[in-house]
């Protein structure tokens, strides 16, 4: 392990042997938010032409470093240099954007504007804007990167993948040769991730330098040459990925040497417990047709499928966010009114939405208020909420779900991405729902916290909740009693626990022959 001191990691890849100057170097960066230290004398040096991974647990300070490297925030102390030159002034956004492009963890697409306007925001040209030529330039730009999106559409209507591709195209259009991707894969399905990686490899071949942040460590091995680990606001090590096996990487991130627990711990079989969630003949034109499924009390059922499989739309229908064209949803014996969220909640359904920023959290309220929203009625007599009891309840959740926060009173928009996801999950479980539907429950959550979250879900199931996990992440599905595979709007297979990864992936992609052996490098 070529560990080096904090702040001055040495560039390592062979491609950079002749060029001593790193494309970007941050050294001795310290950043504090009130009492929270987000970065403490941390640094990173990225050699030109390499793809450099930055990993660390939730709240380690990765996104904070990104905002400093892209000139959105000023570090309290420390220095950023691009190819040896000092960074431009914070107010000179254009200079920053010529040096570094970024796809942030939180979407920076403006949902109410068109795609074309999002692409050219604040650089539409001087004088009157010529909308037609703007759209033409936008479609030229999108075509150039092979993004199939109509520039005249309103950005809020795009899928998560399309929105991200638009962000990437926009980032590249400034001509920057250094690109930061902060957890780009957290919300994408396997096929979309593969397309993203192909695109990254092409760009790297043309000399673009990347910094890549992800909690999926296998992706680090797949696309990166060098990895830097942050832990508790500090730089821990920088090494070529080939010198750092998976287990050592995990222990560098977590600071302990214990191996990952197997998350597939067996629970008692449910037998013929009563069904708490059943779906019969449900269909929604353009998304899915004739879906039947049953989740029994105490059972965990997985639902996997590619982005076009309709699995998320199915989950949203069950939760009342969409209204089906036909068929029934039954929650614990009741039929909630189709298309009504409150009615689904009243029937005993818990729901964890896909897009936590849009549907999951109230950004300015505190962690305590967000986490206890559904149980507010239980925190005091006659609808009055006792603040002390709320804080106590929130503190229990913070402990149980390993949420890294300054305290229950911190507003949720000051949490790191993964910790916000933990608040959403804590809230979904707080109400002891009879049936729980979760979409990508561990998106953006680090390896160690993933275990504790999935453990909490499994123990809710042991307590009698029927759980439907909608996800394309195999780790989320390992502790499920069975996994349903959706393909083009239909449930095509049911796989009992103990499946082989390759088989399941093949089923998701609509082929039966195992084919994924070649992906591991």
């Amino acid at each position: 392990m070529t560990s080096s001191g904090a702040g001055t990691p040495a560039p390592t890849t062979a491609a950079t042997a002749g060029t001593p100057l790193p494309a970007v170097a941050a050294s001795d960066i310290t950043k504090r938010y009130g009492a929270t230290t987000a970065l403490l004398e941390a640094g990173i040096a990225v050699a030109p032409g390499e793809t450099h991974a930055l990993v660390g647990r939730n709240g380690a300070g990765k996104s904070t470093l990104v905002s400093i490297l892209t000139g959105l925030q000023r570090a309290d102390s420390g220095e950023v240099r691009f190819a040896g030159e000092p960074a431009p002034a914070l107010s000179d956004r254009d200079a920053w954007r010529r040096l570094v492009a970024c796809v942030y963890q939180k979407s920076t697409i403006i949902p109410t504007l068109t795609v074309a306007e999002n692409l050219y925001l604040n650089r539409q040209g001087g004088g009157l804007i010529n909308w037609r030529s703007l759209r033409r330039r936008a479609s030229g730009l999108l075509d150039g990167y092979g993004v199939d999106v109509d520039p005249a559409r309103v950005a809020g209507e795009l899928t998560v993948e399309q929105r991200q591709l638009v962000e990437i195209a926009r980032a590249l259009s400034f001509g920057a040769r250094f690109i930061i991707l902060d957890e780009p894969t957290a919300q994408l399905d396997a096929a979309a991730i593969e397309r993203l990686f192909d695109r990254m490899r092409q760009l790297r071949d043309s000399g673009v330098t990347f910094m890549f942040i992800s909690h999926h460590l296998q992706e680090v091995y797949e696309v990166c040459q060098t990895v830097t680990v942050f832990r508790d606001a500090r730089h821990v090590l920088t090494a070529p990925v080939t010198d750092l096996p998976h287990d050592e990487l995990v222990s560098a991130m977590t600071g302990d040497a214990g191996p990952l627990l197997s998350s597939g711990a067996a629970r008692a079989p449910v037998g013929d417990a009563p069904a708490v969630l059943s779906v019969g003949g449900l269909r929604l034109a353009g998304f899915y047709e004739d879906v039947d499924l049953t989740v029994r009390a105490g059972e965990m059922v997985g639902l996997i499928g590619s982005g076009s499989s309709g699995k998320v739309a199915l989950a949203e229908t069950i939760a009342g966010l969409r209204k089906a064209d036909g068929g029934t949803v039954t929650v614990a014996g009741n039929r909630p009114r189709p298309g009504s969220v409150p009615s689904a909640l009243a029937a005993g359904l818990g729901y964890l939405p896909q897009d936590r920023h849009r549907e999951g959290l109230v950004p300015l309220l505190s962690v305590a208020e967000n986490a206890t929203l559904p149980i507010a009625g239980k925190l005091g007599p006659a609808g009055v909420i006792a603040p002390a009891r709320r804080r106590a309840a929130a503190r229990r959740m913070i402990g149980a779900y390993d949420i890294k926060t300054a305290g229950p009173d911190q507003p949720v928009n000051a949490l790191s991405g993964g910790n916000a996801q933990k608040v959403v999950l804590a809230r979904a479980l707080s109400n002891d729902p009879k049936a729980l539907v979760m979409v990508n429950p561990t998106a953006g959550v680090d390896v160690r916290s993933k275990e504790s979250l999935l453990g909490a879900v499994a123990s809710a199931a042991t307590g009698g909740t029927g759980v439907l996990v909608v996800s394309d992440e195999l780790d989320d599905l390992r502790s499920c009693d069975r996994v349903l595979v959706m393909f083009h709007g239909r449930v095509v297979r049911e796989v009992p626990r103990g499946w082989a990864d390759a088989d399941l992936i093949a089923a998701v992609e609509g082929v039966r022959a195992p084919l994924e052996g070649a992906r591991e490098q």
């Binding site: 956004r93 979407s107 920076t108 403006i110 925001l121 604040n122 650089r123």
Partner: protein, 190 residues
């Protein structure tokens, strides 16, 4: 703020109506240019300028971007605080101009002049399709809202409805408009 300024106005004028107004203040409100009142020309000109600025100028589009997603606007290099301040200042200036025009037309300043007008403005914007969540709507829509409300006002007045009831009807229209805006802006949740 509104309440403070109102109080200040009442304090300074002693709650009296002002009649003795210099001609220079009255001029804009009762001048006639090319056969139409000057205020119509001014209003039309300002709306045209506003539509142009909000639809076709970089700084105008920045206002929409800020309404849609402040953080994203900031990341795109828009000086969000400055834009918001300038918009507020323009709003204040326009309100002052409107007061001037109204004074000129009436020839005096009633102590309660413009009272409750904020609700009318609100209603006009909503009826014109301006989103209260921010980031959506056009000045042309707002103009239509103003005209619709003006027409309703005239119809009610000509129909002999008393001024007191017009307020209540305005309130009703705001409510209905808000409900419609909610229902038509896609799937209403919760």
């Amino acid at each position: 703020m509104l309440i403070v300024l109102r109080g200040l106005q009442i304090g300074i004028t002693g709650g009296q109506n002002l009649f003795d107004i210099p001609q220079s203040v009255l001029y804009l409100g009762n001048a006639v240019w090319l056969g139409l009142p000057a205020s119509i020309w001014i209003c039309g000109g300002l709306f045209a300028a506003g539509i142009l600025a909000l639809g076709f100028l970089r700084h105008g589009r920045a206002v929409y971007a800020i309404g849609g997603n402040v953080d994203a606007a900031r990341a795109a290099g828009i000086r969000t605080d400055r834009v918001v301040w300038i918009v507020l200042m323009i709003g204040g200036l326009l309100a002052a101009l409107a007061g001037l025009l109204m004074t000129g037309r009436l020839g005096s300043v009633a102590s309660a002049q413009g009272d409750g007008m904020i609700f009318t403005v609100f209603a006009a914007a909503v009826i014109g399709g301006v989103s209260l969540d921010g980031g959506k709507g056009t000045l042309f829509g707002a103009l239509c809202g103003v005209i619709v409300l003006g027409l309703i006002n005239n119809i009610l007045t000509l129909g002999g409805v008393s001024a007191q009831w017009i307020q209540a009807i305005y309130g009703g229209i705001i409510l209905v408009a808000l409900i419609l805006a909610r229902v038509t802006s896609g799937k209403a949740q919760d």
